[in-house]
């Protein structure tokens, strides 16, 4: 009789689990009707791809994604945003979890073997964010003895330590926003990642930070597509159109205009 009760508790737990499982899975988009487009973006990068507390999405990648989706003939309410974490981007495209990805997704030869890219729609570079009144940090080689913050497992920080400033001290956190907190409080001297990502954080605190402006890498952000996608040429056209009709610049200014970071020249689309 006792065992029956335990079985009942176990059953209730199982039920709760499966119910929760149903509840949790609907944002990955099981309604794969042909009339929706599922776009993978970052949810946690302010100014680029960000899910606000009120459930809205904002950022440069988001605006570009909406522009492209519109150009492909989708309405706003046909767009479904899906969180694409870095590790899952290729698989999401391959197994159809998403139809395209705009998530600070660098075009590399390695990735080109697995997925297709349209664009680039932006050329970013690894850079440093420091306090606005800082003058002694001028680039990656001026960090000896300084405290540098980056996110766990990120190659940029290790790159600096290995190739530029061997005496730099590294602080690793799981998110850049913690680095920003530490930078504000003066516990660290600089944080490093792609300049446009840094701009997204600087934008949140106008006037408080500056981007050093000495990029030491080149990242071509592209639109990730499944291998053999038929939309690639069309999307390339749309990206070029956004450069010309001002939509690209507007997307930047709306999201990153107050970061103190200057919009670079639009890149040349690579129709490989």
């Amino acid at each position: 009789m006792k065992l029956k009760k335990i079985a009942a508790i176990a059953g209730a737990l199982a039920l709760a689990g499966s119910l929760a499982a149903c509840g949790g899975s609907d944002d990955t988009g099981s309604d794969a009707g042909g009339d929706k487009i599922k776009i993978g973006i970052k949810f946690d990068q302010p100014g680029l791809g960000f899910k606000e507390a009120d459930g809205d999405y904002s950022g440069f990648d988001v605006d570009m994604a909406e522009y492209i989706a519109e150009g492909l003939g989708y309405d706003d309410d046909q767009i479904q945003f899906v969180e694409a974490v870095s590790a899952n981007r290729e698989t999401f495209l391959k197994d159809g979890t998403v139809d395209m990805i705009l998530a600070t997704y660098s075009i590399t030869d390695e990735r080109k073997a697995e997925v297709d890219f349209a664009g680039p729609y932006y050329v970013a570079g690894q850079d440093l964010l420091v306090k606005a009144d800082n003058t002694d940090i001028t680039g990656p080689d001026s960090l000896n003895g300084k405290k540098l913050c980056s996110v766990t497992g990120s190659t940029p920080a290790q790159n600096i330590k290995d190739n530029y400033s061997k005496q730099a001290q590294l602080q690793e956190f799981d998110t850049y926003s913690k680095c920003v907190t530490a930078l504000q409080g003066g516990q660290i001297d600089a944080m490093s990642t792609d300049d446009i990502i840094l701009a997204g954080y600087a934008e949140q605190f106008p006037g408080e930070f500056k981007i050093v402006g000495a990029p030491f890498s080149e990242e071509n952000y592209g639109v990730g597509l499944p291998k053999g996608s038929e939309d690639r040429d069309k999307i390339n056209d749309l990206i070029e159109k956004s450069f010309e009709d001002g939509a690209w610049e507007e997307a930047f200014n709306d999201n990153l205009g107050e970061s103190g970071y200057q919009l670079p020249e639009p890149p040349t689309v690579d129709r490989y």
Partner: protein, 291 residues
């Protein structure tokens, strides 16, 4: 032994001294509290814009409640699997067959001796090589929870069975039951009843363990601190609120555990005498310590 045995009923002098000690303690405590409060005040942690998000329905609907649901989901699936794992390996380790009991023992001891975070990392990074795509953080967390907590539950159940009077098993064998029947119909039901409080205490631990999913980026409750901070730059307030939610969730589960413990104690009085692991139960204590 009740603690009051350690000292005599306080006389007038001791009472006065106790008042002095209490006073000093409260002053020190008050000073520390004031220090924290004023420092936090200096750095603007009490600013209303850092706290008003928590009275905004959107914040609860889009961040905190989904976070809690994910935490409870990992808890529900994890505890179910851990109990199944625990039963299987407890029975396996108690088996008379050496080729069953020894491997089961090794498995249980192995998972109890390595950190759960290692297990979660391993399961997470193993998935691509096994052809599982996209990599599931949820299952890395849940299976990690299962392997460790399941091993602890296995030990709790085993301890429960071994604490039973020898006569229970002998009586079962004497009336012609097979060893499997003895285990199923005589030993396990009694062991589970006597160990139910310890098992539930372990489930409370499992709830707290779900917070390790944070390290993998599982969007449970603790991860919402990250989202809140990016939205409102209120790292400290967000962490305080989330800590309070954890304490509340644990308290509720703890109350359930106490309630069930009370019930089982009542039943035990009328049933056959059951060996009881004392207050100093190594397994239960280790169980309680994990994150």
């Amino acid at each position: 032994m009740s603690t009051s045995v350690l000292y005599d009923a306080p006389g007038p002098r001791a009472k006065a001294l106790n008042w002095v000690y209490s006073g000093v303690t409260l002053v020190v405590l008050g000073f520390v509290a004031w220090l924290v409060f004023s420092k936090f005040n200096e750095t603007g942690q009490w600013e209303s814009e850092k706290w008003t998000p928590f009275i905004d329905a959107d914040v609860w609907n889009n961040l905190l409640i989904p976070g809690m649901i994910e935490t409870l989901r990992a808890f529900a699936v994890g505890s179910l699997l851990a109990m199944v794992f625990g039963f299987v390996f407890a029975v396996g380790r108690l088996s008379n067959l050496k080729f069953v009991s020894i491997p089961c023992g090794i498995v249980v001891e192995f998972f109890r001796s390595i950190p759960m975070l290692l297990l979660m990392f391993f399961i997470y990074f193993m998935q691509p090589s096994l052809g599982i795509t996209p990599t599931s953080i949820f299952w890395a967390v849940v299976l990690g929870l299962m392997l460790y907590n399941g091993s602890v539950i296995a030990e709790i159940i085993r301890a429960g069975v071994r604490a039973l009077p020898k006569g229970q098993e002998e009586a079962g064998v004497a009336i012609g039951l097979t060893s499997g029947q003895v285990m199923r119909t005589i030993l396990l039901p009694q062991a589970v009843r006597s160990m139910l409080p310890a098992i539930i205490a372990q489930l409370v631990v499992l709830l707290k363990d779900t917070a390790l999913g944070y390290v993998l980026g599982y969007s449970e409750l603790l991860n919402q601190v990250k989202q809140l901070d990016t939205n409102f730059h209120n790292l400290i307030p967000a962490a305080i609120v989330v800590a309070v939610i954890y304490i509340a969730l644990n308290t509720v589960l703890g109350l359930v555990a106490t309630w069930i413990e009370g019930r089982t104690r009542r039943v035990a009085r009328t049933a056959a005498p059951v060996g009881h692991a004392g207050a100093v139960d190594p397994v239960a204590d280790e169980a309680a310590l994990a994150k």
